[in-house]
C-alpha cells in the first residue's frame, strides 16, 4: 500500500491504482467544475474525454484516469 494526499487528507491505496479510482473510492465525485459550474467526474476511463482532470502535485488539468498513484502524491480536486 502507498499513501497519497487527497484534498489534504492522507489516504492509503494499492499500488498501480489510478488516481481516478483512488478519488472515487474515497467517495469524492467532484473531480472538476465544468465551464458553467457543474460538478464533473470520469466518463470514458481511458484518457479521451478529459472530464476527470484534477491537480496532481501542483500541475493542473491532469487526467486522473491515465495517471497511476505514487507515494506522497498530492491530489486536489474541484479547483
Amino acid at each position: 500500500m502507498i499513501t497519497i494526499k487527497l484534498n489534504n487528507s492522507d489516504i492509503s491505496v494499492e499500488e498501480n491504482t489510478t488516481v481516478a479510482a483512488s478519488i472515487l473510492s474515497s467517495g469524492v465525485d467532484a473531480f472538476r467544475r465544468s465551464v458553467s459550474g457543474e460538478v464533473r467526474g470520469p466518463l470514458c476511463g481511458m484518457g479521451v474525454c478529459f472530464e476527470c482532470r484534477v491537480t496532481i502535485d501542483g500541475v493542473r488539468h491532469q487526467r486522473s484516469c491515465t495517471t497511476l498513484v505514487a507515494d506522497g502524491m498530492e491530489i486536489i480536486t474541484d479547483e
Binding site: 473510492s25 474515497s26 467517495g27 467526474g41 470520469p42 479521451v48
Partner: protein, 427 residues
C-alpha cells in the same frame, strides 16, 4: 528533447499493436518500438488490472514482447507529426521524437456516447469507462449498477462487474431482440465465439437483459451518507427512466455504465494524411494505408473486435517487415473476422429514436457546456463549432463529434495538431 529511432514504429499497445509488433520481429534484425498512452500494455480490451493483465492470450503476447527485441514506451501520447517519418509524443519526462521508416497505426477505438438528460451527472460512466475504472482499482462491491447502451461490450462489462461483486441490476440494450438473435445465430460459423457466448449467458442468467430498451433520462435519486474526505463528497444514487417498448420504467441504482458501441480513433491517421473513408482508415490487403510506409490495423480500419485486431495486426506486422507472403496467408482469416464485424455492426446499429434523447437544455459538448438547443440551429459541424465552441475543448470533439454526427448528420472537420492537448513547455 528525447529521441527514438526505429525501423518500425507502432502507435498503440493493444491487441492490434502488440500482434503487429510480434509479427514484425519475424523479419529479423529489425528495430521495433511500440509507443502507447497507457501505463501498461494491453490496450482497452486487455487493460491491466492493478498493473497485471489477466487475459492468458494477452499475457503470453506481452511476455513475448518483453522477451523480444521490441522497445516499449508507455504513458506516451502522440500529439503531432513533424516532417516526414517523425512523430512527437508527450511523456512524463517531456517530449520524445519518434523517427520511423515504417509506421503501424493501431490506435484502437473509444466508446460512442450519446447525450440524454442527466448524462453529465456524477455516477454516470461509459460502459467500458466504468470497467476501466474498476480495473484501475475502483471498488464496486455491492454497488447497484445498470449497464446500458448497445453492443456486446455491455455483456462483457456486466460480466466483469458481476465478478467484482457488483449488483448488476439490468443490462439495457437498445437493439431489438430480433436483431440480436439473428446475430447470435450467425455465431454458429465461429464455434469458439459460440462457446464464449454460451458461457457468458450462463454467468449472466440472473440479470435482466432488456432489449428494445434505452435510457430516456437520469436524475439524482435520494442522497446517501457521504463517507468522503471532503465536504463535496455527497454521492447520490441515480434514478433512471427507461423507455421500454414505448413504456416508461424506473430503476434506482448507484452507477450507470452507458456506452453506444465504438468509434474508431482515426485522428493520427487523418493528421498524417491517410485516406479516410466513411469514418474509417482505408487500407489495402496488406493493411497499408494510402501512404506507402504507413499501415493501420484493428478498429481504426473497421470495428471488428479483438480477433480482427489480432489478425490485422499480424498482417500489418509481417508486411512492414517485408514478409508479405506470411501476410497473404492470413487474408482468409481476416476476411472472416470482417464478416463477423459487419454482422456485429448491423445487429447493434443505432435506432433513430436515440437522436431525440437530448432535450433543449441537455449538454452535448461537455468540454464547453454547449446545450442541444444552441446546436440545433446549425447545418454543419464547422459553423456550429465557430459559433458555439462545440468541440473546441480539450477532448477536441472526440466525445461530441460522434454524437453530433449521429444526431445531426454532421461530418467531422479536418484534424489539426496537436491532436491531444499538450503542456506548453512540451510543444
Amino acid at each position: 528533447m528525447n529521441r527514438n529511432a526505429s525501423d518500425i514504429l507502432i502507435v498503440g499497445g493493444g491487441a492490434a499493436g502488440m500482434s503487429a509488433a510480434f509479427a514484425a520481429t519475424s523479419g529479423g534484425g529489425t528495430n521495433i518500438t511500440i509507443v502507447d498512452d497507457n501505463p501498461h500494455l494491453g490496450g482497452q480490451i486487455w487493460r491491466a488490472e492493478l498493473g497485471k493483465v489477466r487475459n492468458a492470450d494477452a499475457a503470453k503476447l506481452i511476455e513475448a514482447i518483453e522477451a523480444g527485441r521490441i522497445g516499449v514506451v508507455n504513458s506516451a501520447q502522440v500529439f503531432a507529426a513533424v516532417s516526414e517519418n517523425k512523430l512527437l509524443a508527450e511523456t512524463p519526462n517531456g517530449t520524445t521524437e519518434f523517427e520511423y521508416k515504417k509506421l503501424i497505426i493501431a490506435t484502437g477505438a473509444r466508446e460512442r456516447f450519446l447525450p440524454f438528460p442527466g448524462w453529465t451527472l456524477s455516477g454516470v460512466f461509459g460502459a467500458g469507462g466504468l470497467q476501466a475504472l474498476v480495473k484501475g482499482g475502483l471498488n464496486v462491491k455491492n454497488k447497484r449498477i445498470v449497464v446500458a447502451g448497445t453492443g456486446p461490450l455491455l455483456l462483457a462489462v456486466a460480466d466483469y462487474l458481476n465478478s467484482k461483486g457488483a449488483n448488476v441490476v439490468a443490462i439495457v440494450e437498445q437493439a431489438s431482440a430480433r436483431n440480436i438473435n439473428r446475430f447470435a445465430l450467425g455465431l454458429w460459423n465461429s464455434p469458439a465465439k459460440l462457446i464464449q457466448a454460451a458461457a457468458l449467458k450462463k454467468r449472466l442468467f440472473r440479470i435482466p437483459y432488456l432489449t428494445n430498451t434505452w435510457i430516456a433520462n437520469v436524475t439524482c435519486g435520494s442522497p446517501r451518507v457521504s463517507k468522503g474526505v471532503t465536504s463535496n463528497a455527497a454521492i447520490k444514487s441515480l434514478s433512471l427512466n427507461l423507455n421500454r417498448n414505448g413504456k416508461t420504467q424506473t430503476i434506482e441504482c448507484d452507477h450507470l455504465a452507458c456506452g453506444f458501441h465504438l468509434v474508431p480513433n482515426t485522428e493520427l491517421a487523418a493528421l498524417l494524411g491517410c485516406k479516410i473513408e466513411d469514418g474509417f482508415v482505408s487500407v489495402d490487403g496488406f493493411q497499408r494505408t494510402s501512404l506507402n510506409n504507413v499501415y493501420c490495423a484493428g478498429e481504426p480500419t473497421a470495428i471488428g473486435g479483438v480477433e480482427a485486431s489480432l489478425v490485422e495486426g499480424k498482417i500489418a506486422g509481417y508486411a512492414a517487415a517485408d514478409n508479405e507472403e506470411r501476410s497473404r496467408e492470413l487474408f482468409t482469416k481476416r476476411d472472416k473476422t470482417r464478416r463477423f464485424g459487419n454482422a456485429l455492426n448491423t445487429a447493434f446499429a443505432l435506432r433513430g429514436e436515440l437522436k431525440t434523447l437530448a432535450d433543449n437544455a441537455t449538454i452535448v459538448c461537455r468540454c464547453e457546456d454547449v446545450q442541444y438547443e444552441k446546436l440545433a440551429a446549425f447545418d454543419d459541424w464547422r459553423t456550429a463549432k465557430l459559433q458555439t465552441r462545440c468541440g473546441m475543448g480539450p477532448c477536441q470533439g472526440r466525445i461530441c463529434g460522434p454524437a453530433t454526427e449521429f444526431i445531426f448528420g454532421w461530418k467531422p472537420g479536418p484534424v489539426r495538431p496537436p491532436i491531444f492537448p499538450v503542456k506548453l513547455e512540451n510543444l
